[in-house]
């Protein structure tokens, strides 16, 4: 019998995807990474938290009620802006990363204590992934945390894009987002290379097709 959790992140057929309605709730999932992050931040107040996902009232409520400052920037949505579309030397469509980073992820006079990266690297265009991780490293305080999710190869390219709303200390409410396509699957070595500028990584195995990683700057 199939694991009931795996249905969240495994790709469906095109017909099934077309039937899925953006904005509909897709259930809840326990997040060990979020639980660990919550435990590490416990007792602190006035921290700066950066959420790179879509605007989530739940996430903003969660952190402001704990006395933290919350910053929100929907990186994936910003990357869809037609102004950033370009062509490479072979005429293939790509993204002008320099242009993108001149206008996004600009944080003056603020350093973050925690960053919620969710599964954005899996869906973000190739030229933006590594520079985004480097940009985050430059604005993350030493010993600051980054929480990221990565699909496993079992997820498939049609794995639906979900929005994550914090629903407790280690629980997330999943909501169907726009139909972004999975761009790639990272294995553990890829993930370690991606965060090679960071001090440490801690992997959390989940019962679905997602690995959670808590990275320390």
């Amino acid at each position: 019998m199939a694991n009931p959790f795996s249905r969240f992140f495994r790709g469906k057929s095109s017909a099934e995807n077309q039937q899925a309605v953006q904005g509909t709730d897709a259930g809840f999932r326990r997040s060990s990474g979020l639980g660990e992050l919550t435990r590490l931040l416990k007792g602190s107040e006035g921290l700066a938290i950066l959420d790179l996902g879509p605007t989530s009232p739940a996430n903003i409520t969660h952190f402001t009620e704990l006395g933290h400052r919350v910053y929100n920037e929907d990186v994936l949505l910003a990357a869809q802006n037609a102004d950033y579309k370009a062509k490479d030397a072979n005429g293939n469509p790509t993204i002008d990363a320099d242009h993108f980073f001149r206008e996004n992820l600009l944080f003056r006079n603020v350093k973050f204590d925690a960053v919620l990266c969710w599964d954005i690297p899996d869906y973000l265009a190739e030229p933006l992934v590594k520079p985004m991780v480097e940009r985050i490293a430059s604005v993350l305080n030493p010993k600051g945390y980054l929480l990221a999710f990565f699909h496993t190869k079992d997820a498939g390219p049609d794995a639906p894009y979900y929005r994550y709303h914090i629903n407790g200390l280690d629980n997330l409410r999943l909501q169907r987002g726009p139909q972004f396509r999975l761009q790639r699957v990272f294995n553990n070595r890829h993930i370690e290379n991606l965060f090679h500028d960071y001090a440490s990584l801690k992997f959390f195995l989940a019962r679905d097709n997602v690995r959670e990683v808590l990275v320390v700057r």
């Binding site: 953006q22 009232p57 903003i60 409520t61 929100n72 265009a125 139909q179 396509r181 761009q183």
Partner: protein
């Protein structure tokens, strides 16, 4: 149902900048203001409220007692009592306020700092609980859908 004010009765109570009006410069006053047009510069209402209507386009820093946004704002907001981002709101800028409400569908890019200097903490927390509902959020409908093929980041 949207709650922005459009009735003639409300217009007599609240200063109104219509959707065809463009204002450039410093805007200040001592009465509530509804803006459905364009304002570029600054808006200072201090002890009064500002509502940005669905057609409102603001490129200004805003200081007011209450700020309710249905339209688009590029600028920082200081809302002495509360700031509300309604479902059609698009805000790029930082918010400093005591209470925040963000409705399903609002887009926000910036920072939120909940100030604590004027109200006892117990009252503030009650305010958060009632004015910051946890509701489903949808991406603005204009967001395009990419169709890039799956590929590998590195070999």
């Amino acid at each position: 149902m949207d709650t922005y004010r459009t009735s003639e009765q409300t217009r007599t109570d609240v200063a109104h900048i219509g959707k065809s009006v463009v204002v450039k410069g410093e805007l200040s006053g001592s009465e509530d203001l509804f803006v459905d047009g364009e304002v570029e510069g600054s808006i200072e209402l201090h002890d009064h409220s500002l509502t940005v209507g669905p057609n409102g386009r603001i490129r200004a820093n805003i200081t007011a007692k209450e700020v309710v946004i249905h339209g688009r704002v590029d600028g920082n907001i200081s809302g002495k009592d509360r700031v509300e981002l309604r479902k059609s709101a698009v805000l790029a800028g930082d918010i400093v306020t005591q209470r925040i409400l963000i409705e399903d569908g609002a887009y926000f890019k910036g920072g939120i700092d909940i100030s604590k200097d004027q109200t006892p903490r117990r009252e503030q927390q009650a305010g958060h609980a009632t004015s910051t509902p946890v509701t489903p959020v949808t991406t603005p409908s204009s967001s395009p859908v990419p169709a890039a093929p799956a590929s590998s980041t590195r070999g």
